[in-house]
């Protein structure tokens, strides 16, 4: 569940980032249409919320909220580093997490 929440948080932040012109150009070498930007922002926010639900499922309400804050920080740092060092490969870190994403803990 924690891996799943990390996955969701990373994906959520990636959505928010790609909705910005600068990062879309960095990662995709193009800018997105207004409608696509809107859509990325929406699904990004949705993923971040889903990460909260995953955290609470994994750890209970109080600990889950704390866990969510930690997961958000970690995912955001990972994305920041990817966008800065290897923007075209920004989708790689989640792939590493997928094998763990459906474990219960």
């Amino acid at each position: 569940m924690t891996a799943l929440s990390l996955l969701l948080a990373y994906g959520g932040f990636a959505g928010l980032a790609l909705a910005q012109e600068r990062h879309a150009r960095q990662a995709l070498q193009r800018t997105l249409s207004n409608r696509l930007q809107q859509w990325f922002r929406m699904s990004g926010a949705l993923c971040l919320s889903a990460a909260l639900i995953a955290c609470i499922t994994a750890a209970g309400t109080a600990s889950g909220i704390v866990l969510w804050c930690g997961v958000l920080s970690a995912a955001a740092v990972a994305l920041l580093l990817m966008l800065c060092l290897a923007p075209r490969w920004f989708f790689m870190p989640p792939l590493l997490l997928i094998p763990f994403a459906f474990s219960v803990t």
């Binding site: 990062h23 109080a62 600990s63 866990l67 804050c69 930690g70 994305l79 920041l80 580093l81």
Partner: protein, 516 residues
């Protein structure tokens, strides 16, 4: 300073941050290491068995009681902390009556299985690092608390002003532009602050709360009077809800602790009892409080109060008042004792981000002013303190671990000398930058830091049988994790050192012209 709101906040942010930056770096670095205090404790006592012996909670309590009756029979209070997942020992603390001769208090660690005192090497362990982050070292307690409080307050002001000054928090959320000098350092400082902002705010405000009754003593005095006893009344009303009693003066044997602990385990779950607080042992008014429960951020532990002579259950802790829940939640969030392995690493990551954020802020101060004020005394002082602290303190931390492996076991004040090694190393590394051109001092200290950390697993392998070659195959991840963290830290410092070494076309090198 005159004029608009934002420039004045920017001024406050810069200078409040600069003045306390180095102390904050010390506090954040040692505090972050402190999230793995138990693991570091274990690493620093390589004599410990790979698999620790366990005992049941009632057995541990009875063993502790036997020891305490022998060694601290006249104490007015015993505190017994049972072993747990991260705590291999039973830890005993006792306080003697103020009238008694000798030490005011004592402590001892016991092996859970045998009830005998542990006989591993004396070390400061992770506990010393953890303690230093709020108590500092060498300074008198009161001075240290005020100094830490003032710095924490400046941190709080720094966070709030930082948010005010930062113009585009959301637009720059994922922005980190490398190799752009001042711009890069600002991006790094912003990123590290914003991406862990909830942690930074929580850790700072809750840090102040730990000692709030010390810092804000006048508030207690205003309701409870000036005499020292007033504070006692306050704490009793707040935490014990008036269940405390005075010593009667008549002797009576203490009832066995085992059944009380068993009763508590029956209610809280086996293994859930965390500590036992015995007041007035050997008196007719003896009281035994057994505390435990599933770890929780709000520290919602259950507390059972027993009559210490009859062993009868007197009361069960009721619901806490709302202010107390808020207060204890802040402390619980700060300590992170409820955190499992993953969350503990996330705590560590957040703490490391705070540490790096402070470092980036301090470096930004110099990068911004190098062209304008590069040859003033003040600038040189800041730059040297930066080198000697941002690179020097991590080296000193490594020296603390080296000392643990190299100082012979059994010499007097061994644990104290581990601490002295840290501060002696830091002192030397604070002087070193004053004798060298800045760029070269950075390079030398960063390489030294890389070597000091990267070689620690090797030193460990040469001096103990608890090295990676043994801990990895055995899957002892708390010990292996420490060695691997040392290696990673060493590699990170090597990368930083490479970045400031010329001829590599790096981000930092071109910006660092030698000081003269």
């Amino acid at each position: 300073m005159k004029g608009a709101f934002r420039p004045s906040m920017s001024w406050l942010h810069t200078w409040a941050g600069l003045v306390v930056g180095w102390v904050l770096f010390f506090i954040f670095l040692t505090g972050t290491a402190g999230y793995f205090d138990a693991e570091i404790d274990r690493w620093m006592q390589p004599e410990r068995p790979l698999i620790e012996q366990k005992a049941s909670a009632p057995q541990e309590a009875d063993g502790a009681r036997r020891f305490l009756e022998r060694q601290a029979g006249n104490a007015e209070r015993w505190l017994i902390v049972l072993s747990g997942d991260r705590l291999p020992d039973v830890r005993l603390f006792w306080r003697n009556p103020p009238t008694a001769a000798g030490a005011a208090a004592g402590e001892e660690y016991l092996e859970p299985a045998t009830g005998n005192p542990v006989s591993y090497r004396k070390t400061g362990g992770g506990q010393l690092l953890y303690k230093m982050h709020y108590r500092l070292h060498y300074l008198p307690e009161v001075a240290a608390y005020w100094l830490v409080g003032l710095c924490t307050m400046a941190m709080l002001v720094g966070i709030v002003t930082g948010v005010i000054v930062h113009k585009r928090i959301f637009r720059d959320f994922f922005t980190l532009r490398l190799a752009k000098g001042q711009r890069s350092w600002l991006d790094a400082h912003n990123g590290l602050s914003v991406l862990a902002l909830p942690f930074h705010l929580m850790i700072t405000y809750s840090g102040l709360m730990f000692l709030v009754s010390f810092y804000m003593a006048p508030v207690v005095v205003a309701s409870y009077g000036l005499e020292g006893a007033g504070r006692g009344v306050y704490f009793d009303e707040l935490f014990e809800r008036g269940t405390g009693v005075a010593r009667s003066g008549e002797a009576a044997p203490l009832a066995p602790l085992g059944p009380m602990v068993a009763e508590a385990e029956h209610r809280m779950g086996v293994g859930a009892v965390s500590f036992i607080d015995v007041s007035h042992p050997g008196d007719t008014n003896a009281r035994v409080a057994v505390t435990g429960g599933a770890p929780h951020p709000t520290r919602r532990d259950q507390r059972l109060l027993f009559d210490g002579v009859s062993g009868r259950l007197l009361s069960e802790s009721g619901p806490r008042s709302a202010p107390l829940v808020v207060f204890e939640s802040l402390l619980g969030l700060h300590e992170g004792l409820f955190a499992g392995p993953v969350l503990r690493w996330l705590y560590f990551l957040s703490g490391a981000m705070g540490t790096a954020m402070i470092a980036a802020g301090l470096i930004l101060w110099t990068v911004k002013r190098r062209a304008r004020a590069g040859d003033t005394t003040g600038f040189r002082l800041v730059e040297c303190l930066n080198i000697g602290t941002l690179a020097g303190l991590p080296i000193a931390l490594a020296a603390y671990f080296w000392a643990n492996r190299l100082i012979p076991v059994g010499i007097d004040d061994r644990a104290a000398w581990e601490g002295h090694s840290l501060f002696l190393t830091w002192a030397v590394l604070l002087i070193h930058p004053f004798l060298r051109p800045a760029a070269r001092a950075w390079r030398e200290q960063l390489w030294l830091a890389a070597a000091a950390f990267a070689l620690l697993p090797a030193v460990n392998a040469l001096t103990t049988a608890r090295h990676l070659g043994i801990t990895l195959p055995a899957g002892i991840w708390d010990l292996a994790g420490i060695d691997l963290a040392f290696l990673t830290t060493g590699l990170a410092f090597a990368a930083a050192a490479l970045a400031v070494t010329p001829h590599t076309g790096s981000a930092r090198a071109p910006r660092r012209r030698p000081a003269e």
